[in-house]
């Protein structure tokens, strides 16, 4: 449903960040984009959501298509109206707004008040903890609650595609698991298409059905989630396991260099 064809992104007119990224996100599925820090995952999401320009980035080559229509020149609010919404990494709530006001702000493009109320009820259904804290200034919520709030806020625009940027960042493992389970439920129950950017490959590949691996602004590996889980390179570099299933030993760091053959 969402396709990137050979996207190149340049920041400030000189810094080449994406060097021809192509990927496709299937309707109703969870696609994950894995990679280390600085690989260009977040830039890829911003290229889709139209937020590059607010950071002086520009798509210089390639096209982005949503359900067959070109969307790579659209401003962010036009993308939200077409049903594509981005959730930033780092739990960026509107700190001085209450939980519920955050949700109302998320429903900005929805003009029907009844639908807004319905949306709020739906979000509270998925995240009961937010309902308890509806009147609290969101800057004072806990990290997990803030992550739930930014996902809930994105749902308020009734999106077809949600771009999730590292929901696991800085959260306790149990909370991360809870949040990932909710994302999987949303995908099933609301037919929500998800593009999930993660560094935590284990979790991401557990709920995704398709995955891409990015390094240095390029896609270096692609495949069904199940086959990526079994891929020796992924196991070694992202899951921290050697081939026999023991924990990776850093004595074999040289080995890492040699094995990373799909780089560049």
């Amino acid at each position: 449903m969402l396709t990137l064809n050979n996207i190149e992104v340049i920041y400030d007119g000189v810094i080449l960040v994406l060097k021809g990224v192509s990927l496709s996100v299937r309707e109703g599925g969870i696609t994950t984009l894995l990679g280390a820090n600085g690989a260009g995952k977040t830039t890829t999401l911003k290229a889709v959501s139209g937020l590059l320009r607010s950071e002086r980035g520009d798509i210089t080559k390639g096209t982005i298509e949503l359900a067959g229509q070109r969307v790579d020149r659209l401003p962010p609010h036009a993308m939200v109206r077409r049903g594509v919404v981005q959730v930033f990494e780092g739990r960026r709530v509107f700190e001085h707004l209450t939980t519920e006001e955050n949700l109302v702000a998320g429903a900005h493009i929805q003009h029907d008040r009844a639908k807004v109320r319905e949306g709020i009820a739906r979000v509270y259904g998925y995240f009961p903890r937010l309902a308890e804290r509806r009147r609290v200034e969101s800057g004072y919520l806990s990290g997990g609650e803030q992550q739930m709030l930014v996902i809930g806020r994105a749902l308020m625009s009734s999106p077809r595609v949600i771009l999730l940027d590292e929901p696991s960042l800085g959260l306790a493992p149990m909370l991360v698991e809870e949040i990932f389970q909710i994302v999987a439920r949303l995908n099933k129950e609301q037919r929500l298409t998800v593009l999930l950017v993660e560094q935590n490959a284990t979790l991401a590949l557990a709920i995704a059905d398709h995955g891409y691996v990015m390094e240095n602004g390029r896609i270096v590996l692609e495949g069904a989630a199940a086959s990526l889980r079994d891929n020796a390179d992924i196991k070694e570099f992202y899951l921290g396991l050697t081939e026999v299933g023991a924990r990776k030993s850093y004595r074999e760091v040289k080995h890492y260099k040699r094995r990373k053959r799909w780089l560049s």
């Binding site: 509107f94 955050n102 998320g106 900005h108 994105a154």
Partner: protein
């Protein structure tokens, strides 16, 4: 004793009414700061040119009062939108000092432009409000102050409601909180910047008419803008309740200070007392009484 008390009440009541009129002007400043993070040093000049337009319509071109008022309101709204479009949008993302200098420059341009294009010298801005004060016991209330105070209060409450309860107001606060995230939620940030400046235009137009009536319309009308700074520093740069409370404090303090100190020093207390208070406030509570604190979770 009762005479002393009566004098105090009199100073207080006049201070409250004048203070509400300060609040109205400070509201213009707060609206822009809240939504766009821009510090508008031309707020007093906004009030001044609104006064020029109303007085010009009324006294120079002889339009009826309601036409002059409507024209001033419409012109100020257009001016707010236009200014955002032409000047301030280009300054988004630049250092704060760029916006500060731009508005200071704008202030000077407006001070020159008003007398140059509309009229020079001082013109009255008569409103159909009686001159005889109401006398209630010790109170001695000029009707224009009462009208000004009530109009100001009405608008302050209306704008306060807008920001706290309406969806557009929530969107505007979201923009103020985090522009990029607001964009990602489908909020057209630039449109809300324009709206904030237009709202400042409305508030400035009302301020210009009320203060123009009180002080007469000439370049010095812009000086009421100087009272905005103690008001917003006391109340908090981004708080509407803060603008009300700050305005009341400034109005009361300057009236009471003038009432008690002026007889000994021969006048002028009004102009500096609020600033003494402002500097004290900055030392104790730099974000103001209601200003938003930077939230840090522990």
């Amino acid at each position: 004793m009762s005479e002393f008390f009566g004098f105090f009440i009199l100073l207080m009541s006049n201070g409250i009414l004048i203070g509400l009129m300060y609040s109205l002007i400070a509201l213009g400043f707060v609206l822009v700061y809240k939504a766009t993070d821009a510090v508008n040093f031309a707020q007093g000049e906004f009030v001044m040119i609104a006064g020029f337009m109303a007085a010009g319509g009324l006294m120079v071109w002889g339009a009826p009062l309601w036409v002059a008022v409507l024209v001033a309101l419409a012109a100020m709204v257009a001016f707010g939108f236009g200014l955002e479009r032409v000047m301030l949008r280009r300054l988004i993302g630049r250092p704060v000092i760029a916006v500060v200098m731009a508005t200071i420059g704008l202030a000077s341009i407006l001070r020159g432009l008003g007398p140059f294009t509309i009229f020079s010298g001082t013109k009255p801005l008569p409103l159909p409000i009686p001159d005889e004060p109401f006398i209630l016991g010790p109170l001695f209330i000029p009707p224009i102050q009462l009208v000004g105070g009530l109009v100001s209060l009405g608008f302050l409450v209306a704008f306060g409601w807008f920001f706290l309860k309406s969806r557009k107001g929530i969107a505007m606060r979201a923009v103020a909180d985090n522009q990029q995230v607001a964009m990602a939620m489908g909020i057209d940030v630039e449109r809300y910047f324009g709206l904030a400046w237009a709202m400042t235009g409305i508030v400035s137009a009302l301020g210009g008419i009320l203060w123009g009536n009180l002080l007469g319309v000439d370049v010095n009308l812009a000086l009421v803008g100087f009272k905005v700074f103690p008001v917003v520093i006391l109340g908090g740069l981004d708080s509407i309740p803060g603008a009300i409370v700050g305005g009341l404090i400034v109005g009361i303090v300057e009236n009471v200070a003038a009432g008690y100190i002026d007889p000994y020093v021969g006048g002028g207390t009004k102009d500096f007392a609020p600033y003494v208070l402002m500097i004290m406030a900055l030392m104790i509570r730099p974000y103001g009484i209601f200003g938003k604190r930077i939230i840090e979770r522990v």
